[in-house]
Symmetry: none
Subunit: 214 residues, 2 copies
DNA sequence: TCCGACGTACCACGTACAGGGTACCCGGGC
DNA sequence: GCCCGGGTACCCTGTACGTGGTACGTCGGA
């Protein structure tokens, strides 16, 4: 049985192009829909192997469509298709359950390759631009991690490392062989440099920047 | 000034190949190293634009090398290079600060393209197989994680969310419309369930388990 | 039916924390 | 020479925090 696919895309030209490309690569198009509602109904009726979902649909958001399909028809893998790579969009789609994220315009081979990748199940096609967003999120948001204030000194990193793991000032002082008052100085400087004001915030930022291992 | 690159790779054949490919694409190779220690020293000395780091180095792990370079020479972007795509490896490297993740064997064009992508800064080259691991992690259905002790109630998660972002008990009380004393009860229960005793520890564990986004 | 488990809510006490000071040493410039 | 900035080190004060209590409603099983 050939791989069965559907497309949920409001631009009919794009929709036809998708059908053409996939058919040419040996997939079977079992339907297309122009709205989210129709697309979900189509997916439930046909239970295709893969669904190409445009994120720029009118009314219902592509994210919601993907989430609905993942919920109702888990067997169907969803690939998000969009012209924009706004971080919130990328993350929303992937969180919703998209197995891949392709940016328009795409090459014919790119699309077919992505579908094959997803179906094989051992990989997830993600455009480099989308991947950057993913990475940023994984590391703790903050667009462009680099150059966030002055670097911490070696001693300051030692203090931070101990602090964020729940040790008290007294513990830190003991471990480093300095007075508790001195620890407080380091903490103050660390807070200034990291622009935070509590241990909790410092801990969050520290892991986000990879200064300490969780 | 041309883009300056280094390679940290113990297999000399691969190392030469990298140099060859990058040189052919107009990059300047300013050094190669066969061990992590040498690589870090090289990076500090040359401060290259990009470093290709093999994850399968003897002795020192590639993750640690990347982390060290990101720490000491933030300007240098690191691209992880490996033959295996073990989830822990992928995540470790990306968490350590790798801007890209390329699987061996790679095509010549692929490598050059990845370096260009990373330097342009608007995208992150991630191999499809590595991307799959990333996605799984992002969605939280990664191996282990989950099921660490009793689950927090909705209210407790709300308190935790606010707490770990540095808000005081008073702030939390205000935001949730309850008394400060009540917040303390939640904090106690949260600490018990998570088996921690400070805000900093709770913050670490919360991000580690994906309960809150950093 | 009653009782226990759990989520919710509040108070009081002692301590650890955040932020205000001050001081010394060292290396690099003006 | 001199001062200046950054790293190191210490003290003091008010506050937020961690932990000990108590109490009430609800749900489900003994």
């Amino acid at each position: 049985m050939p791989t069965r696919a559907i497309a949920i895309e409001d631009d009919e030209a794009v929709s036809r192009l998708i059908a053409q490309v996939l058919t040419a690569h040996g997939f079977e198009m079992v339907g297309t829909a122009a709205t989210g509602e129709d697309g979900i109904a189509l997916a439930k009726r046909e239970v295709p192997d893969v669904a190409l979902v445009d994120l720029g649909l009118p009314k219902m958001s592509g994210e919601d469509v993907i989430a609905a399909i993942r919920q109702e028809v888990p067997k169907t893998m969803c690939i998000a298709l969009t012209a924009v790579d706004i971080p919130a969009r990328v993350l929303g789609a992937l969180r919703a359950g998209a197995a891949g994220y392709i940016l328009k315009p795409f090459h014919a081979g790119e699309l077919a390759r992505a579908v094959e990748d997803v179906l094989r199940g051992d990989s997830a096609p993600i455009s480099p631009r989308a991947a950057k967003v993913l990475l940023a999120e994984l590391r703790g948001d903050a667009p462009d991690q680099r150059n966030h204030g002055p670097a911490l000194s070696k001693r300051e990193r030692e203090v931070l490392e101990l602090l964020v793991h729940g040790h008290t000032y007294a513990d830190v002082a003991n471990a480093l062989g300095i007075a508790e008052g001195t620890v407080q100085t380091y903490v103050k400087r660390i807070y200034e440099k990291m622009d935070v004001s509590t241990k909790a915030e410092a801990a969050l930022l520290a892991v986000a920047r990879g200064l300490v291992k969780p």
